[in-house]
Each structure stands twice: as C-alpha cells, then as structure tokens.
Amino acid sequence: MRDFSYVRANSIEAARKAAALPGAMLLAGGTTLVDLAKCGVAQPETVVDITHLKGLDTISVDASHATLGALAKMSHVADHAGIKSHFPAVSEALWQAASAQLRNMATVGGNLMQRTRCPYFRDPSNFSACNKREPGSGCSAIGGVTRGHAVLGTSQACIAMYPGDLATALVAFDATVHLGQRVLKVDDFFLLPGDTPEREHDIRAGEMITAIEIPGSAAARRSTYLKVRDRQSYEFAAARAAVGLELEADGRTIRDLRVALGGVATKPWRARAVEEALKGKVLDEDTVRKASGLAMEGAVDHGANHYKIELAPRVVARAILKLGETA
C-alpha cells in the first residue's frame, strides 16, 4: 500500500514549514488532490491538512477591495452579498464552476491551484508521455484528442488548458495572490508552459496562498462572466470570458474595459488588445465584434480544438454587449 503521512497544521507557520518538506502537499477541500491521487498523478508523501487553520476563511468586501481568505469556500464567495454587488463576475464565475457539492467543499485557494483536465495528464498508467507530469517524457496530447486543449499560450512541450473559472475573473480585475512574504499579480502567479510545463505557478517551497485580494473598480462593479459549454451545468468551459465595463458620462463611450478569457489558454488570459482597441470607442455591436477578434492574436490550434478560435471572440463580444445593454 502506498503510505503517506498526515499532518494537521495548527498555524500558518507550521503549515508552511511542513509543506516545505519534499513530497509534501497541502490539503484544503481535497476535491483536486484526492481526485489526482486516485488517478495516480498526485503521490504525496506527506499531506498537510490546512482546513483547521483559523481565520483563513474570511471574506471581506468594501468598495475599494475584496479580500478572500484562501480557505473560503467557493459557494460562500459566490453567495456573498458584497461580492455579488461589487464583483458580480467573480460570483458568476464561481457559481458556474463545478457542482454544488464540489463548491461546498472546495476552497478558493485550492481552486487557483487545480490542475489541467488534459486526459493524458490524468492517466499515467496508459500514457507515460506527459511533460507536465514527467518533464522530458513528451506530450501525448499533441496528435491525439485535443478538443479541450488550449489555443493560446501553448508551447511545443505542452498544450494543456487551464480549467479554473475563478482565476479568469481574477485576472480581469488585477487581483493579487498573497503568499505570505510575497504578493503577486494573478497574471504573474500563473506561468506559461514554455519548456517547463511542470511549473504552473510562481510559488516556492514553503509558500502557501493565504489570501486573494481584488481591487474594486467601476469596471468590476459592472462586470459579468459568460461560460459557454455543451452541457448547461457541471462542465468545464469550451470558452469563457470575464468582462468589466465602465462608460463615460455619455453612457455610450467606453472609459474602462477589462477582458479576460479562459477555456482556450494555458493560463488565465488577459485580452489587453481587445481592451485597448475599445477604450475610448463608442460601444456598438460591429465595433465590439471586430475588436473581440483581437483576443485570438497568436492562437494556434491542434485540429479538434480549432472551433475555440471561432468561439472565444464571440463569447467576449457577447459578454461586452450584454454589459452594454444593462446601461
């Protein structure tokens, strides 16, 4: 039997220390970790249970910013009145993620750290080649079943899509991840695969996520999250967009725009080209649809995922247009 030791951390310090040991992994809601352990992907030697840490599950919101403790449950954040009014896209991203049961277990810290759904990554006994799992072993996905794989941010080494919904909303609103000493922008926290797809986050041994902070803004207040998928519920996105909009006093000219997309990229993807193209423009359907195409700059498909290149700009455009209608 594959044994591992279990440590229940009673302080953040203790958790960090324990997590710094080789082969140690933090356990929050367990919905990713236990799943990957069953697939044979995660093989922790020590599991450091942080669920008993006090004060890490708080949610505080005011007009200037929101702070989400790493252990706050997805369901609690989604239902939080302050989040709903100041950051609707964050609430919408969360309630459309996973299932009610999972959201009641899973934490927002764990959510950022969830791994790709690439089927080859998840099946080591049948597919030995996976650079993310086993650096240098190759990539089984390239040339295989790629319907769910990324078209943006891919490399020769890995084309795995980052599946999390929350991070897509966070990256749109310049949220930061608190790691104890260091505070990183979400955009910098997630890494492109490049030659090292096994490194997904800028997180160091002994660091853990303690909180997520989202600055308030007019765009965040008027924001939405659009998730498109074949199944109406309980499915990862084919393409998704988090969008925030601020209009000038005339009610038609775009002062500020935030666009992030997911389901199509190897990390949460900020579409700054779309933002820049539309800032200062009058919001109308043609302009928005044309500019949304810029979201796909540099996209590369691998056959079955080609549709994402068509789909994602439409998702972006519809999200922006929907916000425009709510004026």
Partner: protein, 766 residues
C-alpha cells in the same frame, strides 16, 4: 431476501384505488432507497472478505509477452496474483441463446489483447488499497500489432455482411431511380455507454460446492447458469442475490470476465472476494452501444408519398465477439412503402464487444429513418407531421400483418395539440428569441413487444397478507410495485397487504429484465398464481366443514378488501385471516406460470436461463409494437452553437399501463437519455492508442437537471390483449426511440443546418 411492505412505506398520496392495477401507487421500494435502508450488492458485510482489483491491457492489439508479478506478490497484504497462467481452470459456458460453448475452457484473463482495457491480470489482497497498490507494480510487456480503432479507420474495410439482417420487397433500387423526388443521406451514431451510477462488480462466496454471488443483475437465472457452467456445479448450487440495482440500462444481464475472476479467486482462496470495477473500467469491461453508420435513400412522389426506401447499415463489433445492432428495425415498419431494401454489415474493430443499451437497434434505426423523412418533408415542402400521416402504415409493411394495436395516429394528434404544432412556421431559421434560434422538430419511435413465459409464487398468509415471490428484479422500473398491485387486485386485498420479494435466484425463476418484457411477463405470471391462490381460498371457504361459509352451500364467494362474502351479501362476512384460522391453515400457496401446458422441465430451464424461447412479436396474426411521437423545441445560440432542449411533449402508446406514474417516470427517463444521446454522449477514442479517453463521468457527459426542461408525456395506449395477459405493451425502451431525430430535426428547423452525426455539439453548428 428483500421485503417491501407498503404498510411501512409512507409513500402513498392517492386513494385506495392507487393500489389496483392501473393505479398511481408510488414506488414501494422508494423509501428504503431514500433512507439508505436498501442494501446494494457491494454493501454486504462478510467475514474474511478479500478485495480484488483488475489489471488491464494498455495496448489495443497484440499479445502479452510477459507479466512480471514479483513485486506485486511481495507487497504487504497480497493474497493472490492472477494471470492467464495462474488462474484456475474455468469451463466454457453456453451463450445467452443457449448455444453450447465453442471452447472447452474460458480464460477471463487474456493472452491475446484485442482492445485497450481488456483484463489481463488481477490482484487479491486483504484490503482494497493494498490490492490497488500491488496492481500498480505489475509489469506487462507486449508484442503490439496494428489496431483498427473504429469504423472510420482506413483499415476497417466494409465488414462482414449479415445476411439475416437483409430485408427486401418490391424492387427498391428501380423504384428509387424512377422516383421524382430522391433524397439520400448518411447518419452516424457514436459509441455510447450505459453509465449507470452503480458500477459493475460482485461479491463471491463459496461454501463447499455452493456459490453465492451478490451482484447487480438484470437476469439472475441467466447469470446463475453461466456461473454454474463455468465452475461445473449444478445450477441449483448457485445463488444470485440482487434485490436492488443502481441502474443497468441493458448492461447488467450477463456474467462477465471480471465476474469469473472474482468467483475463481474466491474459490482458489477459500475466502469471499469483493471486486468492484473502477469508473474507467466500466467503459471497457463490457460494451456500450455500438457506433453505427447508416445510409437512407428515399424515393417519393411530389406528394411526399414514399415509393422506395433503400437502407444500408454498418455497426462496429469486436475482434473476438459478435454484436449485431439491427439497424433496419424501425426503417422497415414505420412507413408504408411498396419497395424496400435493407442490408447490414458489421465491422470488427479493437473494442470490447458492444452490448445492449436502451432500445438497441430501434434507437439508431429511428435516427436514420426519422431524420430522412424530415429531409423528404423539407424537400417536397410538406409539414413534417403531415408527411408522416401521408405515409402511415396501416399494417406491418414487412410482416404484412395487422397491428395488434397502433395508436400512433392518436399520438401524433394529441402530441401536436398539446405542443401547439400548428403554429410552427415552416421555414428553417424563422423563429427566434434574441440570440436564440428556435426550432421545432417531430419524430416517431417504436419498440417491439418482446414476450416470454414467466412464473411466480403467491402465498396468502395467516394474517391475511399476501406474499409474492419471483427471482425477477427491480432496477427502478417498478417491478415491486406493479406486482403488488397485480396480486392485490387479483386476490382482493389492499396493496398495503402485499409483500413482494424479488432479486434472489432461490425464488421462482424468471427470465431477463430486458427488451421491456418483464412487466408483461411478470404481471401475467402473478395474475395466474394469484388467481389460483384465490381459487384455493374460496374453495376452502366453501367446502371445508369448519368454514363459516360451509352451511351457505354457495358455489363461489367474493373476496374484496381482504374479506370474504357471498356474492349476494347474505351470510357471514369474515376476513381472510379469520377464515384461515377457522379452517386451521397457516397459509395458502400457489405457483403460477404462463408456460405452454405441455412444457418439460428442460423447456422451463431454457425459458428462464436463455433468451431462446422469446416469442416473436409477429407470431400468429398480429404484429405487436409500442409506438410514440415526440415533439421537441430546441434553442440554439446563434453565436455559440450550443443547443438546449426547451420543451418536450411526447405521446406514447404502451398499451395498458399497470401503473401510469411509474410508466411516465420511465418514459421521461428514456427521453432524458435520448437528449444525452442527441447532444452530449460520445466515447472519444485516441486513434493512436485505440483507447477511450473520456472514460469518467466528468468527461463522458450525460445530461444534468439544468439540461432537462419540463417534459410532458401523454398516454394514448389502449389495452392490447394480443401483447400480454393484462394488456400492456412495452414501456422501458420505447421513449428513447425517436428523441435524437426529433432534436436533430428541430436543430435543422432552428438553424437550417442538418447535423447527421451525433452528438450535436457546438462546433458542428458554429
């Protein structure tokens, strides 16, 4: 043993008439399931239970060169490592038709690999975790050979013609060539899986030469026969126990390779063994629905009247096993046509042998013909409902026999009325709501009435209650409930006073719960047994000198609400319990069956343990089928191509309904499964490895509640006494048939785009 006493089942919301046949009694097993009291196969607690896990091939074709088990064998807790070389000898068993085995021995662990996921070894350990860890240490080396991964593999070829599937009348090719309107299109359905919540698996225990198996089963006696033949013990020595089943959908009727491994390891170890397949193994240890390809050509007049149908079909089967999915089963009977031709091939690919999933044959067949007739309607500019009526088959066009009953016209009429079909704007892409394109589609479905013989035991007990016993099963379809209703009505007691015991092969024997036959078979058998118990009861009451009725000299008595009276109401009025006490009896027991009178013991054994004695649905003067019409509204997002079903009205003819509430629930289940087939379900194969990659319930998508709108079902059936003793036809499989084409037709109406390749996923529409 399983007892459902409705007295303890606080599930009734109606009046007393709910308990009679045709009443809306709630499922009597419902409370046990909701409260967790229902004990499923894997929940048995046995002393000394050991745990087995299977090891599967990771290649799709080739041979196993060597299996290195050394590391696994020395792992803590390991009791047994089984390979083709070390497993005990198992004898060949006859197939489900009763054909004798082709091989003297059966090896459930393969040396020659014919599909990825095939079982090649097994580990048994003290704990499940130990077995899993040891299994991971087994090293297998292979000599790999090229695989044919699916029907579109260039190496697949045209396959093997199945002559028995050929159907021809008139001169279809010539009539097609001469027809003023001709349509021809190819339709594809994918590999689909039953994806039952409860996985496959079993607990096996030997006590001397007696074997007990706890295993979810749609067919206790058929599976018991297989185990008996495998291990060379008498049929009576094998006991299968399966009081509850967490979904089967056709997949749980046979003992499979892993079943043999569990029973063999229990015998080799002298300990009970539990083996539950992992979710991924549930995609490769038994077959789902075979992928199919059909070409349908229709020649018609400008008036839309069909002159010819030419149909060609192909389904995949395994390299080492044959599965024929009869693809013309609906094509040949749905519409009147003077000329018809259908031929079918099967193509061997490297997969587990495909199997039965809800309405095998009829389901893909209807997808072809019901889409094709929609294409014809569009071509000639006739309403899709009207064209179906113009081509209505007044008799079975293939068997040339009268329908026993066919309420399909009524189904079209009442479905259309409730749906508001007359308000449909004929042009595709002409109805919308914002970004949503709205489409309305119609399609018909049918399923033959499969019949067999049944038996049951009915007892009237000292307290006046009634007990029914049968080794048939209830996988949620309602056997417990309708048999209680049948016995209650026949004997003359309240349904609360009936206890139904099912799911134990020690009870009166029963055939397969498949092909929607069980309700008709078992209500008939229970009716017979209950009638004979009632006759005994009344006979005693009249003739026993100790009976209070003895002096009355009546020639019959009335039994109602658990009491006996004379027909005229004069004389005594006593409860069944009082009567039995007065004559000194503690019970009355009657066996009843519907077998032909001259049946031998051998005939009976064959009837319950094979499907060889099924009675053809066209036997005698009639052709017997259930029928349905689905009216479906979809909303397709014009930007995203996502399809959502927003309204379903289905009208169905299943003959007489023994319990409308349960029939409606089954129909809705079939419709929901059809929505999954149309929009979501597809086993996705990695073409390089011949392996299903979405082999789990996160990636193999079935509908969620959010995908399902309110579904309205309407019963248009009338009692059909040619089909069953009490007048019912089939319920369970019917409703899925025709759902996928109704959705595809609605998608065409919404978008103007024909998607002939299921499932209709978003990339096919953007």
């Amino acid at each position: 043993m399983t007892v459902h006493n409705i007295r303890h089942a606080d599930s009734r919301h109606g009046d007393a008439s709910d308990g009679a046949v045709g009443g809306r009694l709630s499922r009597v097993d419902g409370p046990a399931k909701i409260t967790g009291a229902a004990k499923y196969a894997f929940e048995q607690q046995l002393d000394g239970l050991a745990h087995a896990v299977m090891v599967e091939a990771t290649i799709a074709a080739g041979t196993v060169r060597a299996i290195d088990t050394r590391a696994a064998e020395t792992t803590p807790g390991v009791l047994l490592v089984l390979t083709p070389d070390t497993i005990m000898e198992i004898k060949g068993a006859s197939d489900w038709l009763g054909n004798p085995p082709t091989q003297k021995t059966y090896s459930p662990l393969a040396r020659t690999v014919t599909y990825s996921g095939q079982h090649i070894a097994a580990v048994v350990a003290e704990t499940f975790e130990q077995a899993v860890a040891a299994a991971a240490l087994i090293e297998v080396s292979y000599d790999e050979t090229p695989a044919i991964v699916d029907l579109s593999d260039p190496k697949a070829g045209d396959g093997i013609p199945i002559d028995a599937m050929t159907k021809e009348w008139g001169d279809a090719e010539a009539a097609f060539a001469a027809a003023p309107v001709r349509i021809c299109a190819a339709y594809n359905t994918q590999r689909e899986y039953q994806a039952a919540m409860e996985p496959h698996g079993l607990i096996a225990r030997w006590q001397g030469e007696e074997l007990t198996i706890w295993e979810p089963s749609q067919w206790l006696d058929g599976m018991a026969r297989t185990y008996a033949e495998w291990f060379g013990v008498p049929f009576e020595n094998v006991r299968l126990v399966s009081p509850y089943i967490g979904g089967g959908f056709g997949s749980k009727a046979l003992a499979l390779a892993h079943s043999a491994v569990a029973a063999a390891s229990a015998k080799m170890l002298g300990r009970p063994v539990k083996l539950v397949l992992t979710r991924p193994q549930n995609f490769t240890s038994y077959g789902g629905r075979a992928a199919t390809r059909q070409t349908v050509t229709i020649g018609a007049g400008r008036d839309g009247k069909i002159q010819s149908i030419v149909h060609r079909g192909v389904n995949e089967t395994a390299v080492d096993g044959m599965w024929v999915e009869p693809l013309a089963s609906v094509t040949s009977i749905m519409y009147a046509t003077p000329n018809f031709s259908s031929k079918q091939n099967v193509v061997r690919v490297n997969t587990v042998v495909p199997g039965a999933k809800r309405a095998p044959g009829e389901n893909p067949s209807a997808f072809g013909i019901e889409c094709a007739i929609d294409e014809l309607a569009h071509e000639v500019g006739i309403d899709p409902l009207e064209i179906r009526l113009r081509n209505y088959a007044e008799q079975d066009p293939e068997a040339k026999k009268a329908w026993s009953t066919r309420q399909l016209r009524e189904a079209f009429a009442s479905g259309a009325e409730r749906f508001g079909w007359s308000k449909r704007s004929p042009k595709p892409r002409s109805m919308r709501d914002g970004h949503q394109l709205i489409g309305w589609g119609v399609a018909a479905g049918t399923y033959p009435v499969r019949r067999a013989y049944g038996e049951a035991i009915v007892r009237i007990l000292a307290d006046g209650s009634v007990e029914v016993e049968s080794s048939s099963i209830d996988m949620g379809q309602g056997t417990y409930t309708i048999l209680a209703q049948t016995a209650a009505e026949t004997v003359g007691v309240a349904a609360d006073d009936v206890v139904v015991k099912l799911g134990d092969s020690r009870y009166a024997r029963a055939g397969v719960a498949g092909g929607s036959r069980l309700a008709g078979v078992m209500t008939g058998a229970v009716y017979k047994a209950a009638t004979s118990a009632l006759d005994q009861l009344v006979g005693l009451a009249i003739s026993d000198p100790r009976s209070p009725f003895h002096a009355l000299q009546a020639n019959t008595l009335v039994v109602a609400n658990g009491r006996l009276r004379s027909p005229r109401g004069d004389g005594p009025d006593v409860s069944i319990a009082e009567l039995l006490a007065s004559v000194g009896r503690d019970r009355i027991e009657a066996a009843g069956d519907t077998m032909p009178a001259n049946s031998t013991a051998e005939d009976r054994y064959k009837n319950y343990t094979t499907i060889a004695t099924s009675i053809p649905h066209t036997e005698g003067n009639y052709s017997r089928h259930s029928w349905c019409a689905h009216f479906i509204e979809v909303r397709v997002d014009e930007d995203f191509g996502t399809v959502r079903v927003s309204r379903v009205v289905s009208a169905l003819d299943s003959g007489r309904l023994y319990n409308p509430k349960l029939a409606e629930s089954q129909w809705k289940g079939g419709i929901i499964m059809g929505i999954g087939q149309a929009l979501l379900e597809e086993g996705i194969v990695d073409r390089r490895h011949g392996r299903i990659v979405n082999n789990n319930l996160a990636d193999y998508l079935v509908p969620t509640n959010a995908d399902i709108p309110d579904i309205e079902v309407i019963s248009v059936g009338i009692p059909d006494l040619h089909s069953s003793v009490l007048g019912g036809k089939g319920v369970g499989e019917l409703a899925i048939v025709g759902v996928a084409p109704a959705i595809a037709n609605a998608v065409f109406h919404a978008t103007g785009k024909r998607v002939r390749d299921l499932p209709i996923t978003l990339e096919k529409l953007i």
